[in-house]
């Protein structure tokens, strides 16, 4: 008798919170989808531009990507189901916009990747270092991560050619796996290694010139 009653009680208890949760989700859904675009810009624009510009340093491009994000968000507002917060939802849209931007650049470069002209600025036709590009030893005193160094590092990262920068940023800022990057940018792994190789050569060279020998 007691056991049966308990079981019944459990069922009731188990049922009620679910109902409450459903109505709460519906409430929040309504709350967030009813927000006006004015609120989006005030609440999220600065966060989005900071995220975008770290990945696409050209200010006007970054701003366009943010604007595009808000427009897409407005147009697809009805499909927002509240599975993620409104903020995360906007970030997801921005991420896919940035990826599309990267993809456009890699498509343009796909043909150029096969010839390795670029590497000629570091190596001769036999694959040996050019005399003025020989890596120099760096003083350990200067191998510090202070603010000044990080500023130079950031400038050097931004100075990379766009596709190299995209690959380097996805790898080290977004910490994505090589396989994921290849899949998302739709490039084969040998192309990835050409880009990663060039990015490291250029970044190393830039740091040497602007920090270690400065």
């Amino acid at each position: 008798m007691i056991m049966a009653r308990n079981a019944g009680a459990k069922l009731t208890i188990g049922h009620d919170p679910l109902c409450a949760l459903d109505s709460r989700i519906a409430f929040f859904e309504e709350m967030s989808t009813s927000l006006s675009p004015e609120h989006w810009v005030d609440l999220y624009a600065d966060l989005l531009i900071a995220y975008a510009q770290k990945r696409v340093p050209e200010r006007d491009v970054a701003r366009d990507l943010v604007q595009d994000t808000f427009i897409t968000a407005m147009r697809t507002k009805e499909s927002f189901r509240g599975e993620v917060s409104e903020k995360n939802w906007l970030f997801l849209i921005l991420k896919s916009r940035i990826l599309d931007h990267y993809k456009k650049k890699t498509e343009l470069l796909a043909s150029a990747l096969t010839d390795e002209d670029d590497d000629n600025s570091f190596f001769n036709e036999k694959g040996h270092w050019l005399k003025d590009r020989l890596p120099q030893d760096w003083s350990t005193d200067k191998m510090v991560r202070n603010t000044e160094f990080l500023e130079v590092f950031e400038r050097c990262r931004q100075a990379l050619k766009e596709v190299q920068r995209a690959v380097f940023t996805m790898k080290y800022v977004d910490e994505e796996e090589t396989q994921t990057i290849c899949k998302e940018l739709n490039i084969i792994s040998s192309n990835y290694w050409v880009l990663a190789h060039r990015a490291k050569l250029s970044l190393r060279q830039c740091l040497e010139k602007n920090w270690f020998n400065a």
Binding site: W40, V41, H128, W129, R145, W193, H197, K200
Partner: protein, 77 residues
């Protein structure tokens, strides 16, 4: 025998966790024994990699005008 271009590329792959073949590994070790420059490169990119994302760039927030123009473009949808 690996040249410097190939050796630096193998370095990059190794430091990013790509599996080198046994032949590539042996060739890279031999190359590093005779080439101080590629050895230096190898050591330095490992360090560069460890910095990767720790740089903290200050991004200028959007100006009032930029925000207004954003709002304007949204209200016209």
């Amino acid at each position: 025998m690996m040249n410097c271009k190939e050796a630096t590329k193998a370095s990059v792959r190794r430091h990013e966790g790509d599996a080198l073949t046994i032949a590539e590994r042996i060739q890279l070790v031999i190359h590093h024994m005779v080439c101080i420059y590629c050895r230096t490169f190898d050591r330095q990119i490992a360090w560069i990699q460890s910095i990767g994302s720790s740089s903290n760039q200050d991004v200028e927030p959007l100006s009032a005008e930029e925000k207004e123009s954003l709002k304007h473009s949204l209200s016209n949808l």
